[in-house]
Amino acid sequence: MAEGILINNVVKTYGSGDTAVHALRGVNMAVAKGEVVGLIGPSGSGKSTLLKCLGAVIEPTSGRMTIGDQCIYDNGWKVHDLRALRRDLIGFIFQAPYLIPFLDVTDNVALLPMLAGKPNALARKEARELLNALDVGHRAKAMPPQLSGGEQQRVAIARALVNRPPVILADEPTAPLDGQRALAVVTLLNDMARQFDTAIIIVTHDEKIIPTFKRLYNIRDGVTVEEAQVRAA
């Protein structure tokens, strides 16, 4: 299966000498295109640090990271414009939807293609198509505070997908949702991963959704361990 994300021996150390904190001690992960994997671990284990490294928000200390065919880090960034890298190759879904409160639903989603230089009309057309696919097309003109929690999270998923990135990083996307809605979001992400051939990593503590992952990585003290397959493909 073609790799969507490949992480080899990524290390992240904050500080140096006696005060050095080793957040990641050699993480290895592989996520195929169209696959959704879970990343679990106790607080302070390094989950968020790994997401930030892969999301090109902080620089690892060493290691290698590849998205699709493109090596983005090999003991140093291989990409000059990290902002463009985040915009074009990575979609983000946060614990809370964090929609821009002064933009309506359509423009919240269309903002990314607009930032990438697409004309407003085309960006809005793509956004509306995606919103329809995610079953929130009828709220296209609404402002974020007018949406329910589940609707807001669907809009956030649409925003993460709109530029068709090969990778989506989801940081506890079901945290604010009840059990049924949480499962619905994970199902949706699985569908989207298959439909758009996207590799998705979901960081979670949510016991309800953990059994839904085909593969699960557990991170402890900055080292990942691949858990046994939870459910047959």
Partner: protein
């Protein structure tokens, strides 16, 4: 690309407009302060313009008659009138005083003007109602700002005068409206002593063997006549024959009459740069303080608004928004606030200007300068907020 600033403003327009109105009132005060200064300069220029003089002849080595007391005899006028290049010359007196009218005090500048022939310098211009003074005594022409009406009787010192005409924009350099009397009446009002003082003066003369020599009572009578009468003026206003250089005539008067003479340019300098210089500096200080306060308010508002959007800014940065886009959003909001503030301020200043006791002149050029100053201040004020936004770490959106 959509305008993020525009959307944010539309989303929270109530807060934005209210803040803009508050800022606008402050800008309105600033524009009014500039208008007060312009009004003072305009009053000073109106005073010179309305006197219709080319030269002001005053007591030697004084800055009279507006900036310093000046006194010269009425007879000084005749030799001046006879000089080459002089078209007209007329004595004039100025006296600022309070006049009781309809139960309240009105501060006026009493002007004594020669009314012997029409068009002499110093006579009231810009007559908007009634007529000029035609009788030798007890008639007056007042500026509308005094609140007097034609037919009113006003008391100046001992005598009452009937208002026969009304003028507009006839004010002193301090903005006090003018009340024109005939020169004789004005001299009496300015120089005549009260009865008790005259009695005491006469007793002193009678007691003096020098002023009241025995056997020659005519000497004391003559002395008393000289002491009780007064034919002094504060200045002689001169108009120049067309084609003659004012400086040339001024120099000639200085040389032959041994008096101080000011041309229009010199008098304007005295009024604008000397007489109201302190007031101008005072207003200038207010303008600087108000500009600083406005900048601080805009900076505080924009900074607070930006801090309220830290999470959204972190998300915007994380999803690939350029720093320049975020900076431009904040700058546009600051400029938008300044624009609303300026429009509100300009309207407010125009609305309340007529209610100021002194003339407030709002010049378009000042408004344009004010607009660019507001925009510059808003740009500067947004720097803090932009710095705060640029420091936002996109990682904050991820948490952990």
């Amino acid at each position: 690309m959509i305008s993020l600033a525009g959307r944010d403003i539309l989303h929270s327009w109530g807060k934005f407009v209210l803040t803009g109105v508050g800022l606008g009132l402050l800008i309105g005060v600033t524009l009014s302060m500039a208008g007060v200064y312009r009004g003072m300069v305009d009053d000073a220029q109106a005073l010179l313009e309305n006197s219709r003089a080319d030269l002001w002849v005053v007591q030697k080595d004084t800055l009279g008659p507006y900036a310093e007391p000046s006194s010269l005899t009425e007879e000084s006028e005749r030799p001046i009138r006879a000089m080459r290049g002089v078209a007209q010359a007329a004595g004039v007196t100025y006296l600022t005083m309070q006049i009781a009218h309809s139960g309240k005090d009105v501060r006026v500048m009493v002007v004594g003007a020669e009314m012997a022939e029409p068009g002499l310098p110093g006579q009231p211009t810009h007559l908007i109602a009634g007529r000029q003074i035609v009788r030798g005594h007890y008639e007056a022409v007042a500026d509308v700002k005094t609140g007097f009406a034609i037919g009113d009787r006003v008391k100046v010192r001992r005598n009452s005068y009937t208002i026969v005409g009304l003028t507009s924009r006839m004010v002193s350099s301090g903005g006090d409206p003018m009340l024109f009397l005939s020169l004789k009446d004005a001299q009496q009002a300015q120089f005549q002593k009260d009865s008790d003082a005259i009695i005491r003066q006469r007793a002193r003369t009678a007691a003096s063997p020098t002023l009241n020599p025995p056997g020659n009572p005519a000497v004391a009578d003559a002395v008393n006549a000289v002491q009780s009468g007064n034919n002094n003026v504060n200045a002689v206003l001169v108009t120049i024959t067309p084609g003659v250089a004012p400086d040339e005539v001024a120099e000639s008067i200085r040389r032959w009459q041994r008096l101080t003479v000011y041309t229009r340019a010199q008098m304007e300098e005295i009024l604008v740069e000397k007489l109201i210089a302190t007031s101008a500096r005072q207003i200038g200080m207010f303008l600087v303080i108000l500009a600083i306060v406005s900048a601080a308010i805009v900076a505080f508002i924009i900074y607070t608004m930006t801090l309220g959007k830290i999470r959204e800014i972190a998300v915007l940065k994380l999803i690939g928004t350029r720093n320049s886009t975020i900076s431009w959003m904040i700058l546009q909001q600051a400029l938008g606030l300044g624009l609303i503030g300026f429009i509100v301020g300009k309207i407010a200043a125009s609305l309340w200007a007529p209610f100021f006791p002194k003339y407030v002149l709002l010049l378009s050029a000042d408004s344009i300068r004010g607009f660019f100053a507001v925009m510059a201040i808003c740009t500067l004020a947004s720097v803090l907020a932009i710095q705060a936004a640029l420091k936002v770490d996109p990682a904050e959106a991820i948490g952990g």
